[in-house]
């Protein structure tokens, strides 16, 4: 069975399948044409299973499930939803399922979902039915951690990360709200934002209220996390509690603002980012209209520009947080999808790029399924 790049777009789901040598890519789809597809994720514990977070302009959010690698789909019988409130409580409703994470390897059938507004949900039956995680959603601090002060796309709960050594050890991110950690399977949570700038807050070293755009845990060294924030690129090596702003080593004229960050699964020192313009009114475009990926091979001490094959000028695109991924090949393949509907790929770890799909709708996510 061929590997698949799942493409979630503002107007449906697409699949991009490379040949064995990754020289040609066959596009198929759309599936669910007209649906807003935020995330499509295959289950590493059972690659036949794929989950898709969907909604439409008119209808409420839902999750579709496939058990045949995306050939056919069935809607969750109980999609993620907050519990019904009682009088006097804030009545929240899921507007979009934004994020999907397969559970720990030892917990077959378990999934987590993050929503807009910020909510955390768990399924124990492969995504057919979902329950709110009360330890987060009903946490007495949740109204302060996630007050609804969201992004242009709404308040987003994303980057649900599970420690491969311990199914109970979780991290998550909220845009806008910060990074939070649980050591007890989500029953309790604590902020983990030390060292992270939040230049839109009045307090220089706030405990929460930050804007992580994406958090990544290294699979082979789970104590190492990177994150791309609204205010820079950071790394932490637990049990440290303060993040280091490794984006300070980026070229000053480029800066360290962006949405995605992806890691080399075999090298904890290597990460790629896609910088965007975060100056003035936040255009959120490729800087100067010249798209480029930047890579570090030394855990953020230095960065190198990778733009061979990318447009040289007048390309005012950007890459959303879920729209960049690596494959399992060697040399490592890297892919990103753009806001103007192009998918770019590299089969040599970003050293050279080529467009492998174009004319798609605005791309929200690009994920790899082996």
């Amino acid at each position: 069975m061929a590997a698949t790049l799942w493409i979630g777009t503002r107007k449906g789901a697409f699949a991009l399948r490379p040949d064995a040598r990754r020289r040609s890519f066959k596009l198929s789809g759309p599936q669910f044409l007209g649906h807003v597809i935020h995330h499509i994720v295959a289950d590493p514990r059972d690659p036949k299973v794929v989950l898709m977070a969907a909604k439409t302009g008119h209808l409420g959010p839902t999750v579709f499930r496939s058990t045949d690698r995306g050939k056919t789909w069935k809607e969750a019988s109980q999609p993620p939803a907050f519990r019904k409130v009682v009088d006097g409580e804030e009545a929240r409703a899921v507007q979009a399922v934004f994020w999907l994470t397969p559970g720990h390897a030892s917990e077959k059938g378990t999934w987590y979902a993050g929503s807009s507004p910020a909510g955390l949900f768990r399924s124990e039956d492969g995504g057919a039915t979902w329950e709110p995680v009360a330890g987060f959603n009903d946490n007495p601090m949740r109204p302060q951690w996630a007050p609804g002060f969201g992004t242009p796309g709404g308040e987003l709960l994303h980057s649900v990360l599970i420690d491969p050594r311990d199914a109970k050890h979780l991290y998550l991110g909220i845009s806008v709200g910060g990074i939070f950690e649980s050591a007890d399977a989500g029953r309790s949570w604590a902020p983990l934002n030390g060292g992270v700038e939040a230049n839109f807050l009045p307090t220089p070293d706030a405990e929460f209220g930050h804007d992580p755009h994406l958090i990544a845990m290294h699979p082979a060294r789970p104590d190492r996390l990177y994150h791309q924030n609204h205010c820079g690129i950071y790394r932490i090596d637990r049990p440290a509690k303060r993040w280091d702003r490794i984006g300070n080593a980026m070229p000053r004229k480029i800066g360290d603002i962006g949405f995605p960050i992806v890691l080399d699964p075999k090298d904890p020192d290597t990460a790629w980012v896609f910088p965007m313009d975060g100056s003035t009114v936040w255009p959120r475009t490729a800087i100067d209209g010249k798209p480029a990926v930047y890579v570090t091979g030394n855990a953020g001490k230095s960065w190198r520009r990778l733009d061979k094959g990318l447009p040289r000028s007048q390309a005012w695109l950007t890459v959303f947080r879920q729209a960049m991924c690596v494959d399992a090949g060697r040399p490592l393949g890297l892919y990103f999808g753009t806001t103007n509907g192009e998918v770019w790929g590299s089969t040599n770890a970003g050293e050279a790029w080529r467009c492998v799909a174009r004319h798609l709708p605005q791309i929200f996510s690009v994920t790899y399924a082996p």
Binding site: G57, L59, G60
Partner: protein, 87 residues
């Protein structure tokens, strides 16, 4: 005697493409509950978990805009409308 429910286009994936169907109930809420029994998942796409009609959905009984509590009589027509939105 059931009433007739007119189904908006975005919801017809639940009704196998049917633009209308029959449903039983004394209120709009009961009509939607009956629909959900026959077409599982349909109600949540229209009504959120706090029992509020979603932002871009409108409900009518015959020609009158209706809430979930609106009474429905046998032979009435209930219209589920998706308001114009998006782009």
């Amino acid at each position: 005697m059931p009433c007739t429910v007119r189904i908006a286009g975005p919801l017809r994936s639940y009704t196998n493409g049917a633009a209308s169907t029959q449903a039983n109930g004394a209120t709009v809420a009961e009509i939607l509950a009956d629909l959900d029994r026959r077409f599982p998942g349909m109600r949540f796409r229209m009504i959120d978990e706090q029992d509020r009609v979603r932002q871009h959905i409108r409900l009518f009984v015959n020609t009158k805009a209706a809430t979930l509590g609106e009474q429905v009589r046998p032979g009435d027509e209930v219209h589920v409308i998706c308001a114009l939105t998006g782009g």
